[in-house]
Symmetry: D2
Subunit: 342 residues, 4 copies
């Protein structure tokens, strides 16, 4: 096995406190399907943190599942999803949204992966043609696939455009901890609750074994959600496992503490790579680092480090690679990798 593990933020299990919370429930006996006190308390916690008492909070198992279940629940059959061409739902989910019957209308973006109101308007204009899918939901991710974050001004502008045009705004927060904990972000959970119709708080990539919280703030989207969650295989029989984890993550700030740590480790790595003369693809303010490497650098990495090839770089013979940090990344891991690359 390679010495340095920067492949992704789901290579380790749970934060020890989360695992301990989960283990404590083991032989208690609890009601199934989320109808237990852990889920109840975790839902209350999330509503409090979001300052959104009317929010419906649903726990699901994984990110792809949460995205397609929410989209299938929110849309009518003839409605489509506007999303960045580089978005996770448009690529790495094996057509999950389309498998629920909905077309994704992809918009090209820069490497930051962020959508802007200016991009949306011509698409909306074009789709007034009733022979085309009706755009109804705008999907964004924070952080984006390339680790960038939305500012409050940007999200406010998108939100306003959506509300002015009858569009729902759904934010995929698989890496929400890292985004909100980033120095580049001035957004808060209450902002998200106020500016979107639904968003997720990802557990899997920030210290949980598994689990995503879906926060549905728009009351019109709330009814009957359990039935479609069941239908799409997203109801965990032993549902308290999700509640107990989210309670442990959120009750004392552990969630954001881990995210800040992961971000700090990424910043340390990014600074170190720059100092080594490496070229970055984007200057990421979150827990993902993207570098442009030539074949020689790549070979050196291959010998010692688990990472991911991201895409071909514009420069011939170069590759964009991704290195990801998480709660379990120690400063020594970063420094060790940098030393080895020196």
């Amino acid at each position: 096995m390679r010495r340095y593990l920067f492949r992704n933020d789901y290579s380790f299990g749970a934060h020890p406190k989360v695992l301990a919370a989960l283990a404590e429930t083991n032989l208690e006996g609890n009601a199934g399907y989320g109808d237990d006190p852990y889920c109840g308390r975790a839902q209350d916690l999330i509503r409090d943190l979001c300052q959104c008492p009317q929010a419906k909070v649903e726990f699901l198992i994984g990110g792809t599942q949460t995205n397609f279940t929410a989209i299938a629940a929110f849309l009518r059959p003839w409605e489509g999803v506007i999303a960045a061409e580089s978005s996770h739902i448009n690529g790495h989910e094996s057509g999950a949204v389309e498998a629920t019957g909905h077309k994704i209308l992809p918009l090209p973006t820069g490497p930051d992966g962020k959508l802007t109101p200016e991009q949306l308007l011509p698409l909306l204009e074009r789709h007034k043609d009733v022979h085309l899918v009706k755009p109804r939901l705008v999907e964004i991710a924070d952080a984006t696939e390339s680790g960038m974050v939305y500012t409050k001004a940007e999200l406010t502008a998108l939100s306003r455009l959506c509300r002015d045009n009858g569009l729902l705004l759904f934010l995929d927060g698989a890496r929400l901890g890292s985004a909100l904990a980033s120095p580049a972000s001035d957004l808060t959970l209450p902002d998200l609750a106020r500016l979107t119709d639904a968003f997720t708080i990802g557990g899997t990539k920030n210290g949980a074994l598994l689990g995503e919280a879906l926060v549905i703030t728009d009351p019109a989207l709330q009814p009957d959600f359990f039935r479609i969650k069941k239908q799409r295989g997203a109801v965990l029989a032993k549902g308290w496992l999700l509640g107990a984890q989210f309670e442990a993550l959120l009750k004392d700030g552990l969630y954001f503490e881990m995210a800040r740590h992961a971000n700090a480790m990424a910043a340390r790595l990014q600074a170190g790579l720059k100092a080594l003369g490496w070229t970055l693809w984007v200057d990421s303010p979150t827990n993902q680092v993207f570098a442009v490497v030539d074949a020689a650098a790549k070979a050196r990495l291959d010998a010692i480090c688990a990472y991911e090839e991201w895409c071909p770089a514009q420069e011939p013979g170069h590759t964009v690679i991704r290195l990801v940090t998480c709660f379990a990344t120690a400063p020594e891991d970063v420094d060790g990798l940098l030393a080895a690359l020196r």
Copy 2:
């Protein structure tokens, strides 16, 4: 909280050995999506136990998800599923199979929930009419919804009918441990591998936190399964969690040991209820006990015991109730409940 917990077999977490195995992996760092040594070893174990080296073994998260993902993967759009009217897929999965586009063709059964070749033939005859759905897959469960088991003779007859008529045979083994460990069953894992095209080995209801193993024995059904598993949200990012649990369940016989224990507890409870003069709905050889109670008996149960109302009984004013045992049920729990009911 009620004193005696017989509501179902997913009220407790994992067997302590399974939880320990899972916890040991926590900070190791493992590849995601099931591409890890735990899954690899657990797949090998299952192939060995099934004496079926060509089987493809896939780990999924929950039962509903496994059923609809397998059915969606195996069928063409115009093909339907023959299943018992009382089957889980026809009722308690919120239309999950239909949500993948496939009609279930339900057949009435007795309280045992078992299908017979004799029932299938007229349906096959009728569905030669090309204006109807083409029956292509027979879904059965072992144990059935009412805890009954198939014998080797019965499964052999169904299998033969399926093969003679171009039908796939898929066995939902959410409670397979309890079924195979039952004194009423003469079936083995190699029998299932030989007689079905695919079947599942349920973890959730027999000592795992979560997880179902899908064993696809028919080579024609194996290609590309990962892609649809991903598409339907059934790929766990931290996939080794499933592999580590199944390895712990299967490597030393813990899975069947727990199932025998649960069956023994159910038999003890069933005998005790009979001794108390209670009427049973079926004489279950597995870990589910079904009794017919009047309002007075039900009120006594309500005060002390978590159980499930199953269906109205034929006798006016009576109800069929279900009591379920599992690995965590102690003899004292059974005896305590019986004493309290005396």
Copy 3:
């Protein structure tokens, strides 16, 4: 070819007046997709005949298509359809409703194929369980598959139950002409518009080449219907062909005139068969005649008459057969068949 054609009511093309109306449009040049004056006038006519100015009227091509497009448009993914076990959507549409993702919850009926409020209540009660599909739409047909009709009292009772329980009521009127023109029916188009949320006026089985009118009276179900109609292949490029036919059918009462004729021919046939000592399966008041025949009678029919085998009869060795009349059935056809059978 057999001499007497009673196989169904779509064995002939269009009533000559309908064909003439269609032919007159042939080289005019018209806007496509239903955006033409014929469709406009036919929609107005239908709104007038229904005394329902707020109705949205959509023309579609065939019956199966109309049923699944309407159901897919009206329902959310977790919602199901209550229908008679013997209904067309539950059998002879090759799983079309399920292919849109919705479960049909079939209810057994007598040979009349009619649903009653009493039957619905226990199903509604059972489906309060959120692990099951949510029943949301009741589908009935008038005439039913076996040619029987609903009375105003019956439809009123069903409508009230639906409205009291948040259910939509959708009436498949593939044979609506024959139903409303039947002496057994006291229903009118305004009654249907008032008592249902949507219903269809079938053209195919009553004198059109093709075409069904879908009347959506519930304003909540009307928005965006064109987009899903397009998506499901139900928009005819040369849409005026449907408008011109429905205008011809409805402007001078031709539609009901043909239906009365077809009913009269069926009554004449039914009376004649009774006089011959034949047993009827149901005493149909519309254009379908169902008789119970033994092998000898069936052999005599086979030699001279196109008809349909319906189902096995209860009496061993007997078969229920169906004979259908339409606008093109002449009294001589009926009398000739009866004479030949004598």
Copy 4:
């Protein structure tokens, strides 16, 4: 109404010979659902013209329907469709393909709308990643949306790439007559049968009231097609209407005669517009003419001519418009429009 009708090729009904053929069947009495001698003879004709005796020929009603029914029939749930970004299925079919669960993987093209093998290879490489949809079918149209045609060399290269990579090749021939009759095309029906796995012969846009013939040459794609055709609402009850039209279209060469005429009218119009100094968007060899107009020219057209706005032109303030000819376009129509524009 505007004087000159060049809006599209489905503004008129059927060629008089086709309408006459259809009318002759009107009161004959025919078996339903395509099980009639007209369909049988038309299927034989198509197999003969394609020199492909093993082809399965299916008649469907409209183009969108034919595309999604074929794609749904041919693909497994995790498989996607490669198509031009500008293709009809990716735009003007209201998400019909996605509504069957399949993702379209759009590739950008030039204004000609044609795909090349070179474009496909990087997409195939990228989609070896099993977290993505599996590309399985390449959809092209001949003529393309912008009226351009494939050459035999181009189609041969695409076909070879598909077969080398396990891809199906499906050709949308909604305007196949115009394509094959074009001087720019060296393709024949036998070429299409040999080089594709399935293709369509469009009736609607070339002289039929309605109807598309789907020619499935790949035997693996043929079984059970009727069942899915029924399921998707594509079986016409009075199916002989399709057979009679296709027989009339194909038995004496009328289909290609009309296409040559439409092409000649378009060439006459295109030459005339050039002579007037108009700029063409593409130099179309088929029955669609695309011109780039400024606001003044557009205003003059608006007063006298039905046409379609296609897309904004690159030059600010200019618009690409489309003028379409068909069997019913007379030389006088073309000359009259040109004179009026002079």
